[in-house]
Symmetry: C2
Subunit: 382 residues, 2 copies
Amino acid sequence: MLETLTDVQALSLDVLQFLTQPKPEVLRGFPGSGRRFLAMDGRFVLVATARDPGIYEYAGAMRQATNNHASVTVHTGSSNVTPAQYMQAVAALAPDVWVALSDDVPSDCRPDRAAKAVDRSAAWLSECMSVAAAAPELSGAAVFAAVQGGQYLRERQRCAETMAAQPGVAGFVLAGLGTGESPSQRRQIVEQVVQRLPAAAPRLLCSVGTPEEMLEAVAQGIDMFDMGYLAGVTAGGYALSFPLDPGAQQQQQQQQPMPASSGSASTDKAPAADGSSDADAAADGGQDCSKINLWAVAYRTDKRPLLPGCNCFACANHTRAYLHHLLQAHEMTAQVLLEVHNTHHYLQFFKAIRASIAAGTFAAYHEGFLQRRQRLLMGAGW
Amino acid sequence: MLETLTDVQALSLDVLQFLTQPKPEVLRGFPGSGRRFLAMDGRFVLVATARDPGIYEYAGAMRQATNNHASVTVHTGSSNVTPAQYMQAVAALAPDVWVALSDDVPSDCRPDRAAKAVDRSAAWLSECMSVAAAAPELSGAAVFAAVQGGQYLRERQRCAETMAAQPGVAGFVLAGLGTGESPSQRRQIVEQVVQRLPAAAPRLLCSVGTPEEMLEAVAQGIDMFDMGYLAGVTAGGYALSFPLDPGAQQQQQQQQPMPASSGSASTDKAPAADGSSDADAAADGGQDCSKINLWAVAYRTDKRPLLPGCNCFACANHTRAYLHHLLQAHEMTAQVLLEVHNTHHYLQFFKAIRASIAAGTFAAYHEGFLQRRQRLLMGAGW
Ligand SMILES: [Zn+2]
Ligand SMILES: [Zn+2]
């Protein structure tokens, strides 16, 4: 259904949700395996990952893992899984890309635990790849290795080097981030890991989501992201509204100096008919110049679409006031419409980033984005 | 969104949900009022009704009503509403059809309470119509009067006669049913009420929903229904599967006498590849020859669509096994897909009924439907 409402082309799928309910045998029973079961045959690039950032619990998982199995959080609770069991589910899903099982530890684990995670993850990668080599469903699939190591640069470096040395690995996942490390720690980890990976191999960064974080990661050489941030934003009742084209907006603002009351996180040019503005909404807690919270009373009578100018299904058909009402009434249509808009907005964002890379202007795009954000925050009195 | 996935043409809307959140003023702020707010402008026939059968609580409401106000259940709790307040919300919604506020009592209320409900409902109808006459938003809208009276034939008759005598009423709602009366009591009430109403005026029957109940009601002269049954079926994880064309299926069965194991509540002609059948599912509690319950383990590996032959969005893209999985994982997509199928199936059912009425063959359609249902139940060993 997503496909009919946005232009999604790739989907990431949590392998762990297919260990027990449904069992891999159920998926295998379908011609085309999991792809057909999930109605994704031929339409999406399917990336099978080993962790749903939305439901993962680090603390218990870390304690219960052994050299033989990981402990993982699935929708029925926590569960142990061996590399062989994990690969059964991967094979049943028949993805285009799969991530090897790794010993997933958070940034603030102890250094010896981080070292153990690196050793186990390397061993499990080999084991997963042996199983894959014998699975016909995975003959055309690419494997990504997960780089662990917590906040410890030495362990991260060691893990990156070990994983990069493994023949047959097509890409890499920078895992275990977004778990308590500081922004500068993360920046260092990403830098140290990326420089140890083959230049041409794609890199996926976990648990990073704000537009500023993504732009910084792209600048550091990251190619792919998971969508945990989007899910969280949608669950909170937010619609993303950060401007995709800082250049155009910049020009507009040079023409008309910006008083606090005309501040706009959206690309809306005309003030709202009822005199309300995004800056008013900011004062009411309704927005932060990057997203708006539809729970805020500021939107109770707002006749504008979630993001004026957006051409997603939600914005083409509905108003902020209606979304506010749906949230108040606990109608699940609220989440559906917000997810449609937020997914669409991030896809447009990625499109803009790719275009700027292709045109050789990414650095300027990045800089313009940060500058505009700062101006908006100042204009709105933050 | 519903419109893009099925061919819905009319929607009924619970006025009571628009008394406080959002307030009528919010709706009025939109050009085109509530229709624009709800993104229904020009696309649906909008019927504003006074009771959401899904959340209505009779007991408390009945005790708290007075001659001046009804007590109603809304999504924020229970609330008192006067006819004037009710009409403010109706006017803000700007529907095509609106139902007058009535004193809604259940079948098993005491006779004196039922009599009081009839008196109040008649008085409130007049009051509602006076307000409507002064409201420009309602100049083109039709008013339906609600017939109350509990299980008491004398009160039902008196109410029908009073309401039918009120000039300007376009149609009638047989209200307060599905609240404990027996099938034969309901049959008598419908018969007695309908024969007292103007022959050409449309009649809406509340809280009746199974295909057999609907066919009987149509035979008695009912034209419209609310969709509380569909909502309940969907919430329970059911997909409707009763056959729409008893004639065609009848013929098929004459050709091949029906052993228990080939019983099929669907129009599926080929047995499933894994050898399972609907009769097996019946034995597992998965179906009752009218609907299937996707929670049942019988569907864990079932590769068929919800209803083979159905051309709704859900059936065109997904399998029973996938729906079973979505329910297990508590994914709201399960409810969305089931609602799409169930709405589509009932719309097809109504289409078949209308076609048989137009062809003068409704009685045969009705009879064939009941006969086939009985054969199916016997065949499945019920
Ligand atoms: Zn949008
Ligand atoms: Zn269907």
